[in-house]
C-alpha cells in the first residue's frame, strides 16, 4: 500500500455518533448528516471545503479564528460553521462576496504578525496557514511590520524531536486542546490575553522542563510551522508514505511512515488506525532512529568459540555453518538437545516460520517465546476460565466503561495511547480503582484522580482479588442471572463455598495485602454495582509465582459481576511488546500448535503433518527456564534465538549466563550485537519493522499490517533468513512473500481462516477470530457464550511466594517500565529517548532510605539471594515503606542479576515483581558490573576485528 504523500483529509470537526439524521442544503447541494454534525463537517462530507484555522477533526470545535464564517438563510450575521450544528432544512452559503471579504480581512490580520519566509519555512508545502491564505485569496497586507509583533520570539529547541517557533504562532489553541483532549496531559496553556497571548508549556518552562511527555499530538495538530518535527526541519517534506504498525508496545498504533526515498522523514499516527485513531506516544512517533543506527550489524557472522573474533561471511555460509553445527549437536547429544526461542517483537509470519522450523526441522517441540516471561499466565488463566487465551475487548470499549480497575499496570508509561483513551473516559466521570504497590501516574494525574488506590503488597494479588469476590458473594451483589445462564453451576457452587469462607474476607487478608479492609469492601461494592465494569491488567499481575491464579481471579470477578460479553466491560490484558498476542497465537509455546491446540491432539497434529509433509513429535518440549536448566546439565546444547535478548531480559543473570556459556551452538538473529549475542557462535542480522512485510497482533487481537518502507539493511528480511536456515536444515520451505505465509496460517488455524493480505488491505486491520462465522473479525468476545461453552470459576487459593521479606533481605524489590524506554532498551537507548532516562534508578521510601543512611543520588547496593548490583538511588514516596522499585532498560544496571528464577506455578513466568533484597549505601559498582564491563569490551573488540577484515577484503587489488 504505497501512496504518494498527501495529508489526510480533515473534516474540521469530529464525527457525530448519533443515529438520527438531519437534511440541509449547502451551496445548493443536499446533505444528510447525523444530528450534532457541524455545518463545516457536513460541507466537507460533500467535498465543500470551508476555510478554517482553529478547527481540526481530532478536536472539539473551538470557534476562535472566525475564518470559517458562512451565511445561513434566516440567520443574522455570519456564524462560524465549525461551532454551528447542522439543522433540518438549513440553507447554507459558504462563499458569498461578504464572507469572502471578511475572511480576507481576518487572514490579513494574522499575516501582519507572521514572518513571510514561506520559501525557507520547514512546513512549506504542508502548511494550513499558507493554504488558507491561498483559499481566501489574500493579495495584500495593509498593516506593516512596524507595529508590535512577535517576529523575534525565541525558539524553544529543548525537545530533541520537535521545535517550537513562537514567531509563527497564530494562537489557535489547537496544540493546547490536543494536549488536553487527545493526550490528556494538560501541559500547555495560552498565557496572557489579547496581543500578549502566547502558547506556553506548564509555568512558562521550556518543553523539556515541563510536564510534556513528547507524544507529538500538539505537533500534529498545529496548522503552522510553530510546532514542527525536527526531522522535517532537517530533511524536508516527505514525498510518499507507507501505512504500517508501530513495533513497540502492545497497543499497536497504526502509522504512516512518511518517506523521502528510503529515508523516514516522519512517523505520523494514522487517523484510520483503529487502535490509536490518530494518536501516538514518544516511542512510536519519534524513536525510530535506531533502525539506521551505526550499531546495526548488517553482515552475517560466525565464529568457533566466543573467545574468537567474529568473521563476516555470506548468508549461505552462515546458514551452512549453523545447520552443520545444529545437526552435529543432535548427533552427539540426541534430537532433543537443540531448540529455538522466538520473539514477540517479530511479525506473526516470522514467528510462524521459527516454530515451523523447530517442529519440522529440529524434529522436536523445543520452541518457546519471550511471552513466557511476560504474559504466559494470561494465556493459561483466560483459556482455563473463559476458553480463549486473549483479551475480550477493543481499546475503544473503554469509552463505555463506568468503573475501571487498573491492576498491576502503568498505562501512562507502558501503554500511553490506551492511557489517553482511559483518561478521557475518566474525565467524563468513570470511576477508577488502581491496584498497585506504587503510586502510578493515574492515581493522581491532571483532571484524573483514582477513587481508590489499593496499595497491595507485592506477591499478595491473589489474596486481594479473592477478598473482592468474597465481598460481592457474601453481600449478595453477584450477577445471579448471568452466572446461572452463562457459567458452569457445579464449579460455581464449589467456588462460591470457597470464596465465601471468612479466610478470604478483606478483614482476614488485610494483614497479608496491607490494604485496609474497608477500602476493599467499598471498592468491591463500587465494581459490582457501578455499571459497566472493566478490568485492565499488566505484568504486575502476571509476573508472580501465582500470576496464573490472579489472572483466573480476575476472570472470576468479571464473570461474577456479569461484566463480560459486551462493550465497556471485559478482561483486558495490556500486552507489553507489540506482538505478544501474535507470538502466542502462532504456536510458539512448546506444548501448543498454532491457535492454542495441544500438541498431543492427534487430529490437529495430523493436519500440520499433512500440510508440512513431516511427522511431528506429540510430546511437549522445553520451556525457556527448562532449556537453561538442561543446558547447565549438559543435555541441551544448541539454541536459535530470534529477536530476543535473554541474557538481559531473563531473571537470574548468573544462571542464564552459565546456561548460555555451556552451549555448543548459539545462533542469534537480531538488529544489534545484544547481550545474548556476546555468547553466540552465529549472528544473523535482523531487519527492523521498516524493512519487511508482515503483521503484528495487538492486545485487542487486532492483526495489523507491517509494510516495508525501505530495503533490509542486510539484504534479507527476517522471514527470508529463517527460511534460509530452515532450508539448510533440509526443511521443505518456500515462500515468495509473507502473504503466502499468512495463507498457510489461515489454512491451518481455525481462528484465522478469513485472514489474508487482501482482506487486511480492504479492512485496514482484523480482530481474530476471523472466519466463516465472523468474516470481518470479532471486536468483542464471548458475547452469547464463552469460547469454552460455560464459564469456569477457578478455585484460586492464595499461596505466599517464597520471595518473602526476611531479616537478611527485608525489602521487596519490584520492577517496572518508563515511558521513554522500551523493554531491554536495545532500540530506545539508540535514540534521543535517552534524554529522558539514561540510567535505571532505584526508588526507595524516605523511611527506608533514612534507616540506611542513603540520600537522593547516592549509589545503592542491592542484594538478593542470587546476586547483587548497584544503582543510583532516588528517595521517593511513590513506593511504600518496605518496597523498592527499578526499571531494567539498561544492560549495566543488572536488575536481573538480582531477580530470582522463582516463577509462576502454571507457566514458569518469572516472578520479576517480587524479590526479597537488602539495600545499602555503596561507593563502587558490583563485581558483576565490573565483569560485565570487561566482557562487553572484549566482545566489542572481537566485533571490531570482523569489521576490519571485511574492509580489507573490499579493498580493490
Amino acid at each position: 500500500m504505497l501512496q504518494y504523500y498527501e495529508p489526510e483529509k480533515d473534516f474540521g470537526t469530529p464525527p457525530s455518533l448519533a443515529t438520527e439524521t438531519v437534511g440541509l442544503m449547502i451551496d445548493g447541494v443536499a446533505v444528510d448528516v447525523p444530528v450534532g454534525t457541524s455545518v463545516m463537517r457536513a460541507a466537507s462530507e460533500v467535498g465543500i471545503k470551508i476555510p478554517k484555522l482553529c478547527a481540526t477533526d481530532s478536536l472539539e470545535a473551538f470557534g476562535s479564528c472566525r475564518m470559517c464564517m458562512v451565511e445561513i438563510q434566516g440567520r443574522k450575521g455570519y456564524p462560524a460553521s465549525c461551532t454551528t450544528p447542522a439543522e433540518e432544512g438549513m440553507v447554507v452559503n459558504t462563499q458569498t462576496d461578504k464572507v469572502a471579504g471578511l475572511r480576507r480581512n481576518v487572514m490579513e490580520l494574522y499575516i501582519s504578525d507572521h514572518p513571510l519566509d514561506c520559501l525557507t519555512c520547514p512546513t512549506n508545502g504542508n502548511c494550513e496557514l499558507q493554504d488558507t491564505a491561498g483559499e481566501v485569496g489574500l493579495r495584500e497586507v495593509r498593516y506593516g511590520y512596524e507595529g508590535n509583533n512577535h517576529l523575534d520570539a525565541e525558539k524553544d529547541q529543548s525537545n530533541p524531536y520537535f521545535t517550537f517557533d513562537p514567531s509563527k504562532c497564530i494562537v489557535c489553541s489547537r496544540c493546547v486542546r490536543a494536549c488536553e483532549e487527545t493526550q490528556g496531559t494538560f501541559a500547555l496553556t495560552i498565557d496572557g490575553r489579547g496581543f500578549e497571548s502566547k502558547v506556553s508549556p506548564s509555568q512558562n518552562e521550556d518543553f523539556m522542563a515541563s510536564e510534556c511527555v513528547s507524544c507529538g499530538a500538539c505537533v500534529a495538530a498545529c496548522p503552522t510551522a510553530t510546532l514542527t518535527e525536527n526531522t522535517i526541519i532537517n530533511l524536508g517534506q516527505p514525498e510518499h508514505s507507507v501505512i504500517t504498525t508501530c513495533a513497540y508496545c502492545g497497543v499497536g498504533c497504526a502509522f504512516k511512515a512518511e518517506m523521502r526515498g528510503n529515508t523516514v522523514v516522519n512517523m505520523t499516527p494514522w487517523k484510520d488506525g483503529k487502535a490509536n485513531e490518530g494518536h501516538a506516544c514518544v516511542k512510536g512517533r519519534f524513536a525510530f532512529g535506531y533502525a539506521t543506527h551505526q550499531d546495526r550489524i548488517t553482515s552475517p557472522m560466525i565464529r568457533d568459540s566466543i573467545d574468537d573474533p567474529w568473521q563476516e561471511v555470506s548468508w549461505d555460509e552462515a546458514f551452512g555453518f549453523a545447520a552443520d553445527r545444529l545437526r552435529e549437536t543432535q548427533q552427539k547429544y540426541g534430537p532433543n538437545s537443540i531448540g529455538g526461542i522466538s520473539s514477540s517483537r517479530c511479525t506473526n509470519e516470522e514467528v510462524w516460520l521459527v516454530q515451523k522450523m523447530v517442529r519440522a526441522g529440529f524434529g522436536n517441540n523445543n520452541i518457546d517465546t519471550c511471552a513466557r516471561v511476560c504474559h504466559s499466565p494470561t494465556g493459561y488463566g483466560l483459556k482455563t476460565t473463559l476458553g480463549e487465551s486473549a483479551g475480550t475487548q477493543s481499546f475503544a470499549s473503554v469509552a463505555k466503561s463506568d468503573v475501571i480497575i487498573v491492576m498491576g499496570a502503568n498505562p501512562t508509561d507502558a501503554h500511553p495511547v490506551f492511557a489517553s483513551r482511559l483518561k478521557k473516559r475518566l474525565r467524563e466521570g468513570a470511576k477508577l480503582i488502581v491496584v498497585d504497590p506504587r503510586k502510578i501516574q493515574l492515581v493522581d494525574a491532571p483532571h484524573v484522580k483514582a477513587d481508590f488506590h489499593l496499595q497491595v503488597r507485592p506477591g499478595t494479588n491473589v489474596a486481594f482479588i479473592n477478598a473482592m469476590a468474597h465481598v460481592i458473594v457474601t453481600e449478595g451483589l453477584e450477577a445471579k442471572a448471568f452466572i446461572a445462564e452463562r457459567c458452569e453451576t457445579p464449579t460455581y457452587d464449589q467456588w462460591a463455598a470457597f470464596i465465601g469462607d471468612k479466610q478470604q474476607s478483606p478483614e482476614a487478608t488485610e494483614s497479608i495485602t496491607g490494604i485496609p479492609a474497608a477500602d476493599v469492601r467499598e471498592a468491591a461494592r463500587l465494581f459490582a454495582t457501578g455499571g459497566n465494569g472493566a478490568i485492565y491488567y499488566g505484568l504486575g499481575v502476571t509476573e508472580h509465582s501465582q500470576g496464573s491464579t490472579t489472572v483466573m481471579g480476575i476472570a472470576n470477578l468479571a464473570m461474577l459481576t456479569g461484566n463480560i460479553g459486551r462493550e465497556g466491560v471485559g478482561v483486558n490484558p495490556l500486552r507489553g511488546q507489540n506482538n505478544v498476542q501474535g507470538s502466542c497465537d502462532m504456536g510458539s509455546f512448546p506444548h501448543e500448535l498454532p491457535g492454542y491446540r495441544h500438541i498431543s491432539d492427534g487430529e490437529t497434529r495430523g493436519t500440520f503433518e499433512r500440510d508440512w509433509n513431516v511427522s511431528l513429535d506429540a510430546e511437549p518440549g522445553l520451556r525457556i527456564p527448562n532449556m537453561f536448566d538442561a543446558a547447565i546439565d549438559g543435555d541441551f546444547k544448541g539454541l536459535y534465538c530470534h529477536g530476543e535478548d535473554i541474557a538481559q531480559s531473563d531473571p537470574n543473570t548468573h544462571h542464564v549466563e552459565a546456561a548460555l556459556s555451556s552451549l555448543d551452538c548459539l545462533i542469534v538473529q537480531d538488529l544489534f550485537l545484544n547481550e545474548t549475542a556476546k555468547f553466540a557462535h552465529v549472528f544473523l542480522p535482523g531487519s527492523s519493522f521498516l524493512e519487511k512485510d508482515g503483521t503484528f497482533t495487538n492486545a485487542e487481537r487486532r492483526i495489523s499490517p507491517v509494510r516495508q518502507a525501505m530495503p533490509p539493511q542486510a539484504g534479507l528480511a527476517d522471514w527470508e533468513a529463517t527460511m534460509g536456515l530452515a532450508k539448510a536444515l533440509g526443511v521443505d520451505m518456500h515462500y515468495d512473500h509473507p502473504s503466502e505465509i499468512m495463507d498457510e496460517i489461515a489454512r491451518l488455524t481455525p481462528t484465522f481462516t478469513g485472514v489474508s493480505y487482501d482482506r487486511l488491505d480492504e479492512l485496514g486491520s482484523i480482530q481474530w477470530p476471523c472466519n466463516e462465522a465472523n468474516p470481518d473479525g470479532t471486536p468483542t468476545m464471548h458475547i452469547d457464550e464463552f469460547v469454552r461453552g460455560k464459564g469456569f470459576f477457578a478455585v484460586t487459593e492464595f499461596t505466599p511466594t517464597d520471595e518473602r521479606a526476611t531479616r537478611k533481605f527485608p525489602l521487596l524489590l519490584t520492577t517496572g517500565r518508563i515511558l521513554s524506554q522500551y523493554n531491554v532498551g536495545a532500540q530506545t537507548r539508540r535514540t534521543e529517548n535517552n534524554s529522558w532516562h539514561d540510567e535505571d534508578i532505584l526508588e526507595i521510601h524516605p523511611h527506608d532510605a533514612e534507616e540506611r543512611g542513603i540520600k537522593d543520588g547516592d549509589w545503592g547496593g542491592i542484594q538478593s539471594r542470587v546476586g547483587d548490583t548497584v544503582l543510583r538511588v532516588k528517595v521517593s514516596e511513590n513506593v511504600q515503606p518496605g518496597v523498592v522499585y527499578t526499571t531494567f532498560h539498561h544492560p549495566f544496571s543488572g536488575a536481573n542479576v538480582v531477580t530470582t528464577d522463582n516463577s509462576d506455578w502454571a507457566t514458569n513466568c518469572p516472578e520479576y515483581k517480587v524479590t526479597a533484597v537488602q539495600v545499602s549505601k555503596v561507593v563502587a559498582p558490583s563485581s558483576w558490573q565490573d565483569r560485565q564491563k570487561k566482557f562487553n569490551e572484549q566482545q566489542l573488540e572481537l566485533l571490531k576485528g570482523a569489521k576490519r577484515r571485511d574492509e580489507t577484503a573490499r579493498q580493490p587489488g
Binding site: F498, G621, D635
Partner: protein, 72 residues
C-alpha cells in the same frame, strides 16, 4: 542431572500441586498429574518419576501422588 535441576522439578511439582485451581484432594492430584503431563517434556517426567521411586523427599503428598500416577 544436577541437584539444582531436580530441586527445580520438585519445586515446580509442589507449586503445581498448590496451584491447580480446583477444590478437594482428589481433584488436586488429578489436576497436578494432568498439568505435568500436558506441560513437561518426557525427560522431565521421567526424572521426577525416578526421583519419586527413590523416595521423593521434599514433594508434598499431592505432588508425590500425582507423580506416582504419571508412571502408571
Amino acid at each position: 542431572m544436577s541437584e539444582n535441576s531436580i530441586d527445580h522439578l520438585v519445586k515446580m511439582a509442589n507449586q503445581i500441586a498448590a496451584g491447580v485451581p480446583v477444590a478437594g484432594t482428589e481433584a488436586k492430584v488429578d489436576g497436578t498429574a494432568s498439568h505435568i503431563n500436558k506441560f513437561w517434556t518426557p525427560l522431565m517426567k521421567q526424572q521426577i518419576s525416578d526421583f519419586v521411586s527413590r523416595g521423593g523427599e521434599g514433594l508434598t503428598p499431592v505432588a508425590a501422588e500425582a507423580v506416582a500416577r504419571l508412571s502408571n
